[in-house]
Symmetry: C2
Subunit: 193 residues, 2 copies
Amino acid sequence: MSSKRALTDRESALPALAEAFREHGFEGATLAALSKATGLGKGSLYNFFPGGKEEMMEAVLENVDGWFVNTIFLPLEHVVDPAAAITAMFDDVTAYFRSGRRVCIVGSLGLNSAGEAFSVRVKEYFVRWISALAHCLEVGGAPPALALDLSEEAVSGIQGAIVLARALGDDTSFQRIVRRLQSTLLDAISRSG
Amino acid sequence: MSSKRALTDRESALPALAEAFREHGFEGATLAALSKATGLGKGSLYNFFPGGKEEMMEAVLENVDGWFVNTIFLPLEHVVDPAAAITAMFDDVTAYFRSGRRVCIVGSLGLNSAGEAFSVRVKEYFVRWISALAHCLEVGGAPPALALDLSEEAVSGIQGAIVLARALGDDTSFQRIVRRLQSTLLDAISRSG
DNA sequence: GTCTATAGATCGATAGAC
DNA sequence: GTCTATCGATCTATAGAC
């Protein structure tokens, strides 16, 4: 699969960078930690990301956003079977966030002032997720106003489930909360679709 | 109300410290920022908190916990009118978190590794909130298992609403989500109480 | 393109004048 | 008890050898 042309190793460092940012936060992720996480020296990191930590985080966010667009948003936006799409979304999200052990890097950025530099991207991520899910519910027959309310509740609820699961150190709370959210959404489309 | 005895000014610095920790996070809240927020020099801060930042955060958490115990947990634990208690809880919480503009310092601590030093207190906060709310719902006639599930959902949902409102820069999303949570709880007790 | 060495700034924390 | 001055450590970022 590897081509001879271009595509430096910058891309392959992103998952490790993302994990370090998730675990330590933007301010807490020192270059020493990022170097250790990627196995690259500081010199190599600055070779790939001349803009330093901020450029690293930008690249990580773009990478994460790409995953969500392809795996979560697009399937919802081009849905043909709403119930199946919703079930798939919760399965994918549960796996992605490791049942809440893994922090949502986008959500956590919005919580403190260090993330203000990325506020546009943070906002767009949630806006698109909510509207994509609302569209899916509408296709399933839910009234537009209800679809938007329930989508907001579900996306918000997933973020809360991550916070709670991390605080309690308990995956099962994440799974219970997410399962209830899923049931609420499926009810809304089976009731009207 | 001010007594001549003891009670240094340590206590009065806590609200400003709390706001600085909320806005910048634990790592992001530098001593310069904490000094500016409180109006105290570093020397004074270390006079009140010999243990430095960690002791400041401990004191802030104890202070926050005290507020929640008195205002939120105890009324739920000694409830006589469940519906009124639930309504009061959501009113108080909405005001406290400024409709989601204000970060929950306890929840945010659980999200990254810097908060591990406070993990016991973080966990106990959420455990007590959930169990206090569940007790209230049981008094209202909800079956114990349902009461626990709904309490978990509500406490988690409030955290998610903060994350979403901050990300979107939109108070109204917090209010919509919290209103739905409140309705769900009130339904559960009116249905069975 | 990788590393080590290091600059310059800022960090948490301390010392000491008042 | 308050401040200013300053310590050593650590931070981000750069320079330069290989």
